[in-house]
């Protein structure tokens, strides 16, 4: 059994260097249509039908937000400002359509400014409900039907049942392999670190799935029988909103923590679960969105969010939870308060970190994480 660093990981690292990686370029050159999206409420599988493919909007290496700052207040989160900056700087020039959800007031400002400043040919806002029940499910189903119709008529793509089923099959293949990799993290000596896993997830979300799947499968083959001899002091779970930069997790792990579970917008829990179709694929996608999206924007859903974390803590044998919040994020800022109390109440150590979209202040981050692990007596 090998204990070396996985070699295929370099592929994912390279794919994360730019907002539109070489696989996006390749697919675009082949006449396919990249659709940018920014929220887990957007059903990726729907955007995988026919010639479409989804690209999660991220802003790797963003150095400043001088352009976006002209239009967004400094109290708008740095994620929103970073993607608007990249949009204004034409860093998403291959993106031919934008599908968004006004998950929060900040994201609504992004959409408003994107429309006003860039006047995209195709932009669609999904009016996602804030409660989960039978009537809102129907509402969301109608929303997705509207989106499918609009995509079909604008891009002349096939959004029929067979085409959607094919897209869902591909999404499910992706989820199955990602879950297999994720399951390896439950072992006492996981063959991969949290930052390596995050690189794979982020690169996958920003690439056409069919083109990245062979790399993910190769990665799995490389690590499935690997046994790590890496020493760690505590198994950690990271919880929060958008986390795009694997560097953040690398810093946490540099202090002796091993991130074994990731419950954030761009993590694998509970986002990467297969879609179960029993009848209408759009109905299935609406159900799937509600099932996989445990977002603080949803009302009367706190217990489900909390229980998901508690279950994950048990399943992945987590010693402590790190809650990361982008500064000025209203949703996570508010939700984290009862979350911290509820987790501590059942004896789970919690570290709450406020951060910017791009990882900064490495020294301070290291000190906090080291002290957190020490306070757990490890």
């Amino acid at each position: 059994m090998s204990t070396e660093e996985p070699r295929v990981i370099k592929v994912f690292e390279d794919l994360l260097e730019t907002p539109q990686n070489r696989l996006v370029e390749q697919a675009s050159q082949d006449g396919r249509i990249p659709i940018g999206y920014s929220c887990s409420f957007v059903p990726e599988a729907l955007l995988m039908a026919d010639r479409l493919f989804p690209v999660r909007l991220h802003a790797p290496g963003v150095a400043g937000t001088e352009l976006a700052d002209n239009y967004l207040s400094s109290l708008v989160c740095s994620y929103t400002r970073s993607i608007l900056e990249f949009a204004m700087d034409d860093r998403y020039d291959l993106i031919r359509g934008w599908v968004t959800v006004p998950s929060c007031a900040h994201m609504q400002r992004f959409i408003d400014n994107l429309e006003y400043l860039k006047r995209p040919d195709f932009i669609h806002v999904i009016d996602a409900p804030r409660k989960v029940n039978e009537s809102t499910l129907k509402w969301h189903e109608e929303e997705l039907h509207m989106l499918a119709d609009k995509l079909s008529s604008h891009f002349s793509v096939d959004m029929g049942k067979a085409s959607l089923m094919k897209a869902i099959d591909e999404w499910n293949r992706f989820c199955v392999i990602m879950n297999r990799i994720g399951d390896l993290r439950k072992t006492p000596n996981p063959p991969i670190t949290g930052s390596e896993f995050h690189r794979v997830v982020m690169a996958s979300l920003a690439s056409p799935k069919d083109l990245i799947l062979p790399h993910i499968e190769a990665f799995y083959r490389e690590i499935e029988n690997r046994e790590s001899t890496r020493k760690y002091r505590a198994r950690l779970m990271v919880v929060g909103g958008h986390l795009h930069d694997p560097e953040f997790i690398r810093i946490i792990e540099s202090q002796g923590g091993l991130v074994v579970a990731d419950r954030f917008c761009t993590g694998s829990i509970p986002g990467l679960i297969p879609v179960h179709v029993n009848g209408d694929p759009i109905r299935a996608l609406a159900e799937h969105t509600f099932e996989k999206t445990l977002c603080p924007r949803m009302m009367e859903d706190f217990d489900r969010r909390l229980n998901n974390i508690l279950d994950t803590v048990k399943e992945y044998r987590v010693d402590g939870v790190v809650i990361e919040i982008i500064k000025f994020c209203d949703l996570w800022g508010v939700d984290s308060m009862p979350l911290v109390s509820a987790l501590r109440k059942v004896g789970i150590p919690v570290l709450k970190l406020e951060r910017e979209y791009r990882t900064t202040g490495e020294g301070q981050l290291r000190t906090r994480v080291q002290a957190f692990i020490e306070s757990m007596g490890r």
Partner: protein, 260 residues
């Protein structure tokens, strides 16, 4: 059983030599751009004060922002744990520690065994840190140590509306130009500092005994303002509060050697 602790901070570097519970020597120097060099230099001074050499040290722990660059330590521990350990070592009844360093401040709450129950840090902004006082002292043409002493002579402390270091500077300049006395300005600066830190301290849940550590704890004006803000007395420590991180590191080192 001789143990040592070395704390490489953003502004100062400290070292403590400990023989069981007895402090044999300590030293403090300004941090240079080279943490490794600062650590070696301060350790040499502390060893000289204790009439010892490096060969006499059984175990040495490093802490502070430069901890990972100290060549001679056998282990590194965060300054949060070290300040807590140092204060609890000196006073086992200590439950809340407020450490104000050069570039951040921390509020730490302990249980009766001295274990950390909760901690909060402010490392996003210079206000509420030693750097804030350094900037203000320079503006008033005072040495840092004088800020506390002179603030005792105030008749009417100014009320600093801005909490941002940059904007507070502009406000102080305006008051200086208006002919406000340095004592009133120094008192206002200390109170502004205390108000910022009190918010952080309350967030961990204040429990007695409470003490302040770090360089700012030498400023009596800030201590008094904190006592006023929190409505409880601050326990004075019998060792220089700025040495607390290095002392805690030395106590950890002693424990590593089997000492209690």
């Amino acid at each position: 059983m001789i143990a040592a602790g070395c704390d490489v901070g953003s502004l100062t570097t400290k070292a403590v030599i400990l023989n069981n519970t007895r402090l044999l020597g300590h030293a403090l120097i300004g941090s240079s751009f080279n943490p490794e060099k600062s650590a070696a230099e301060v350790m040499e001074k502390a060893l000289a004060a204790a009439h010892l050499t490096m060969d006499d040290i059984g175990f040495c722990v490093g802490t502070g922002y430069g901890r990972e660059r100290i060549g001679f330590v056998k282990k590194t521990i965060s300054e949060i744990s070290c300040h807590a350990k140092g204060a609890h070592f000196l006073q086992p009844s200590m439950r809340t520690i407020i450490d104000i360093g050069g570039q951040d401040c921390k509020a730490i709450r302990l249980d009766e065994k001295g274990e950390i129950v909760k901690f909060m840090t402010n490392d996003k902004c210079a206000s509420g840190t030693g750097r804030f006082l350094e900037v203000m002292a320079k503006l008033l043409g005072l040495e840092l140590e004088e800020l506390g002493r002179i603030s005792g002579q105030t008749t009417q402390p100014i009320n600093l509306a801005a909490t941002c270091t940059v904007w507070a500077q502009a406000e102080v300049i305006m008051h200086l130009n208006d002919g406000m006395s340095k004592a009133d300005l120094a008192a206002g600066i200390n109170e502004a500092m205390a108000a910022r830190i009190a918010i952080l301290a309350r967030s961990v849940g204040i429990e007695k005994d409470v003490c302040m550590t770090g360089g700012v704890a030498k400023n009596t004006g800030v201590i008094q303002a904190m006592e006023k803000q929190l409505g409880i007395p601050m326990r004075r420590l019998r060792v220089d509060p700025q040495m607390m991180g290095a002392l805690g590191a030395a106590v950890f080192a002693r424990e590593r050697m089997g000492g209690r």
